[in-house]
C-alpha cells in the first residue's frame, strides 16, 4: 500500500479544479482570476500540509516514486557525456551506467545506478539491482577515473545488490568487497549523491566518497525495510514498522555524520520539478568539486580515512566514555 497515493489524491482533485476554472474563464471571457488565485493558494497550503513532514515509510515511497529523476536524468543534465560500457570480462550490466562527463569547468567520470522508469525498462535494468558484473563495471570506471586523474561522481539509487542464483555463482560478495576497496583508496576526489533509494551493501559499493550528499527525500539504509523486516521478524510485510526503526532519512544520517550534506527538494518531492531538481543537484556537485580541488591528494585520502574511521557508536568501558559519533 503506497501511502503517498492517498495524499496525492487530494492534490490531484485541486489541480483538476484549478484547470477547470482556467479553461472556463478562457472560454467564457469571465474573469475568474480571484477564484483561481484563491484555489492556488489553497493548493500550496495543502501541498505544504501534505508534504511538509513525511514519515520514514512515506519517504521510502518518495525515494521509489516512478517519476522521480533517475541517474540518467542527472547525467542528461551534464554539459557532455560519453558513455562507456562493460566489465571487460563478460557483460554490460545496464543497472550501472557510466562514462566521461563534463560539468561546468570539470571533466569527470560519472557512474550511476539506473533503475527503470517503466516496467519494460525495469526488466531490462533488473530494477536497478546490480549483478557482480555491474559492480566490476563500476570498479573499472572508478579506476579509469584514477587512471585519467579525473574526479569521480556517483549517483546511488538501488534497492540493493541483485540476490539471484547467478549473482551468487559469480561472486557477488567479492564484487562488492573489491569495489569498496577501490573506492576507499581511489587517488582522485570522489563525490556521491544518493538520489533515490540507497539499499545496503549494494549501494555502499559505489558510495564511499570524500563527500556524500543526499536528496532530502531519498533514503539510505542498512537493508531495505522489507529486507530488514524479513530478517528480524520473518515477515517482509512489516516493512513500515522497520522503516520507522531504521533511521534511514537524510536528516537521521546527517545527524550520525554518515552523510555530509542534504540537498533540499521541491515541496512534494523531486518528481514535481525534475528539471529544477537536476539543476540544483548538479550545481551543488559542481561547487563541491571546486572545493575538493583545493585539497592535495594526501589531504583527501587522510580525511577520507578519518571520516570512515570514526563512524560507529559504542561505549568505551576503559575510558569510561562513549565512542565516536
Amino acid at each position: 500500500m503506497n501511502p503517498l497515493l492517498e495524499r496525492e489524491k487530494g492534490l490531484l482533485e485541486l489541480e483538476r479544479r484549478i484547470e477547470d476554472l482556467r479553461s472556463a474563464s478562457e472560454g467564457k471571457r469571465i474573469d475568474m482570476s480571484a477564484e483561481i488565485a484563491s484555489l492556488e493558494s489553497k493548493y500550496r497550503q495543502v501541498l505544504a500540509e501534505l508534504f511538509g513532514s513525511l514519515t520514514p515509510w512515506e519517504k521510502v515511497h518518495m525515494a521509489r516514486h516512478p517519476r522521480r529523476p533517475t541517474a540518467l536524468d542527472y547525467i542528461a543534465g551534464f554539459d557532455a557525456f560519453d558513455e562507456l560500457h562493460g566489465d571487460r570480462m563478460s557483460r554490460d550490466d545496464s543497472a550501472i551506467v557510466g562514462g566521461f562527463a563534463r560539468l561546468g569547468g570539470h571533466s569527470i567520470v560519472a557512474i550511476g545506478q539506473q533503475r527503470g522508469r517503466d516496467m519494460k525498462e525495469n526488466l531490462a535494468r533488473n530494477f536497478g539491482m546490480s549483478t557482480p558484473e555491474g559492480y566490476r563495471k563500476g570498479e573499472r570506471l572508478a579506476l579509469l577515473a584514477e587512471r585519467f586523474n579525473l574526479p569521480l561522481v556517483t549517483f546511488v539509487d538501488t534497492k540493493g545488490a541483485d540476490p539471484g542464483i547467478l549473482s551468487e555463482e559469480h561472486a557477488q560478495s567479492e564484487a562488492i568487497a573489491s569495489s569498496l576497496e577501490v573506492f576507499a583508496g581511489l587517488k582522485v576526489p570522489t563525490l556521491c549523491v544518493v538520489i533515490g533509494e540507497g539499499g545496503s551493501g549494494g549501494a555502499l559499493a559505489l558510495a564511499i566518497a570524500d563527500r556524500v550528499l543526499m536528496l532530502e527525500h531519498s533514503v539510505y539504509s542498512v537493508a531495505s525495510p522489507e529486507g530488514c523486516a524479513a530478517i528480524l521478524w520473518g515477515d517482509a510485510s512489516k516493512a513500515e514498522e522497520a522503516a520507522a526503526h531504521l533511521k534511514l532519512t537524510a536528516a537521521d544520517l546527517r545527524g550520525f555524520g554518515i552523510i555530509d550534506e542534504i540537498i533540499p527538494e521541491p515541496l512534494g518531492g523531486a518528481h514535481r520539478d525534475p528539471e529544477g531538481t537536476v539543476t540544483r543537484v548538479l550545481d551543488r556537485v559542481g561547487a563541491l568539486l571546486d572545493v575538493l580541488e583545493t585539497y592535495s591528494l594526501r589531504e583527501l585520502l587522510d580525511a577520507r580515512y578519518e571520516k570512515y574511521r570514526h563512524l560507529g557508536s559504542w561505549r568505551d568501558a576503559v575510558a569510561g566514555s562513549d565512542g565516536a559519533t
Binding site: A161, P163, G164, I165, S167, E168, E169, A171, Q172, S173, E174, I176, A177, S178, L180, E181, A184, G185, S200, G201, L204, A205, I208, Y220, S221, V222, A223, G227, C228, A230, I231, L232, W233, E241, A242, H245, L246, K247, L248, D252, L253, F256, I258, R304, Y305, Y308, R309, L311, G312, S313, W314, R315, D316, A317, V318, A319, D322, G323, T325
Partner: protein, 287 residues
C-alpha cells in the same frame, strides 16, 4: 586463568547430565560433549563441523597466551531500538547465553611460532552480526597489525550487518575496508578463514578482501541469504548451493580446510609470509 578467557570460563560447567550429550545434526550420532570438544567440535563419525565458539577457536590455534585488545569497546544503543525486546535486552540475553560481550574477540598471539593479529567472530552472539563494536574492534586489530608489522588473520562467522544499529552497522564495512587497505599497503598479509555461516555485509567486505581466503568444510558462504534467494526465484535451492565446496569449484576461495588441519595450514601460510618479510628486510639492508 588468562584475562581474555574470563568470558568463556564458566561456560562448560554443565550440571545437567543430559546436557552433556549432543546429537549431530548431520548424521544423528549422539556425542558426549567433552569428547566433541576434544575433537575441535567435529563429529567423530561424519566429520560434521559444529559452529565453534571464539574462545575455543583461539585456544585451538594459539601456542601460549593471547593478548586481547579492544575488550573495553562495548555496544551502545544508537537508534534506541525496541521491537519485541529492546536492543540492550537482546544484547544482555546473548551475553548471558554465549559468555561473549560482543560478536568478536581480537588480539595478538602466536600460531606455530608466528606472531599474528587474530580476530575471531562468534555466531552465538547476535548471529555474529557486525555492528559498531565488531567494526571498531576489528579496525583496531587491523590498525595494530599494521603498526606492529604483523600479518592479520580473521575468522568470520556472521549473518551480516546488525539491523538494530542501522546505517552505523553498514558503515563498519567501509571502516574495516579502509583499515584493510592500509594493512595491505604496509606489505603485511591479510588472511581470512570463512566459517559457517559467512554472509551479507561481512562476506561483502573484509571476508573477501583477504590475500588468502580459506573456508571451513561445508561452511555456508554467500552474499544473499538462502531464504531471500528462494523467495526471489520461487524455487528451492540445491543443498550444496553456497557451500565452501561450491565456492571452491567456482574459484571464489583458495581452499577448503578440515578443522583438524587448520592450525597447520595457517602455520605454513604464515611461514611463507615470514619468508617474504625476511626477503624484504634483506633487500632493505643491502640497498
Amino acid at each position: 586463568m588468562a584475562d581474555w578467557l574470563r568470558g568463556g570460563r564458566n561456560r562448560d560447567k554443565v550440571r545437567d547430565d543430559a546436557a552433556q550429550w549432543v546429537k549431530c545434526p548431520s548424521c544423528g550420532e549422539v556425542l558426549y560433549r567433552p569428547d566433541l570438544s576434544a575433537n575441535l567440535d567435529v563429529c567423530a563419525r561424519c566429520s560434521h563441523h559444529f559452529r565453534m565458539r571464539a574462545h575455543d577457536r583461539i585456544l585451538s590455534l594459539v601456542d601460549g597466551d593471547f593478548e586481547e585488545i579492544a575488550r573495553g569497546v562495548l555496544p551502545a544503543d544508537p537508534l534506541g531500538w525496541t521491537d519485541k525486546k529492546s536492543y540492550p535486552q537482546k544484547l544482555a540475553a546473548d551475553a548471558e547465553k554465549s559468555g561473549m560481550d560482543e560478536a568478536v574477540l581480537c588480539g595478538f598471539g602466536s600460531i606455530g611460532g608466528h606472531e599474528v593479529a587474530l580476530g575471531v567472530m562468534d555466531f552465538h552472539f547476535r548471529g555474529g552480526t557486525m555492528g559498531s563494536v565488531v567494526g571498531e574492534r576489528l579496525t583496531r586489530l587491523i590498525e595494530a597489525a599494521t603498526a606492529r608489522q604483523l600479518p592479520c588473520t580473521i575468522f568470520t562467522a556472521s549473518g551480516g550487518a546488525r539491523m538494530e544499529e542501522g546505517m552505523l552497522a553498514l558503515m563498519q564495512m567501509a571502516k574495516t575496508t579502509a583499515a584493510v587497505l592500509r594493512l595491505k599497503a604496509s606489505g603485511e598479509p591479510f588472511i581470512t578463514v570463512l566459517t559457517d555461516p559467512t554472509t551479507g555485509g561481512v562476506s561483502a567486505s573484509f571476508a573477501f578482501q583477504a590475500d588468502v581466503i580459506l573456508a571451513e568444510r561445508n561452511a555456508m558462504i554467500g552474499f544473499a541469504g538462502r531464504r531471500v534467494i528462494e523467495q526471489t526465484i520461487r524455487q528451492r535451492l540445491p543443498d550444496r548451493f553456497q557451500t565452501a565446496e561450491f565456492l571452491l569449484e567456482r574459484g571464489h576461495i583458495d581452499g577448503v580446510v578440515e578443522r583438524a588441519n587448520l592450525k597447520s595450514t595457517l602455520e605454513r601460510i604464515l611461514g611463507y609470509a615470514r619468508a617474504g618479510r625476511e626477503r624484504r628486510k634483506r633487500a632493505e639492508l643491502s640497498a
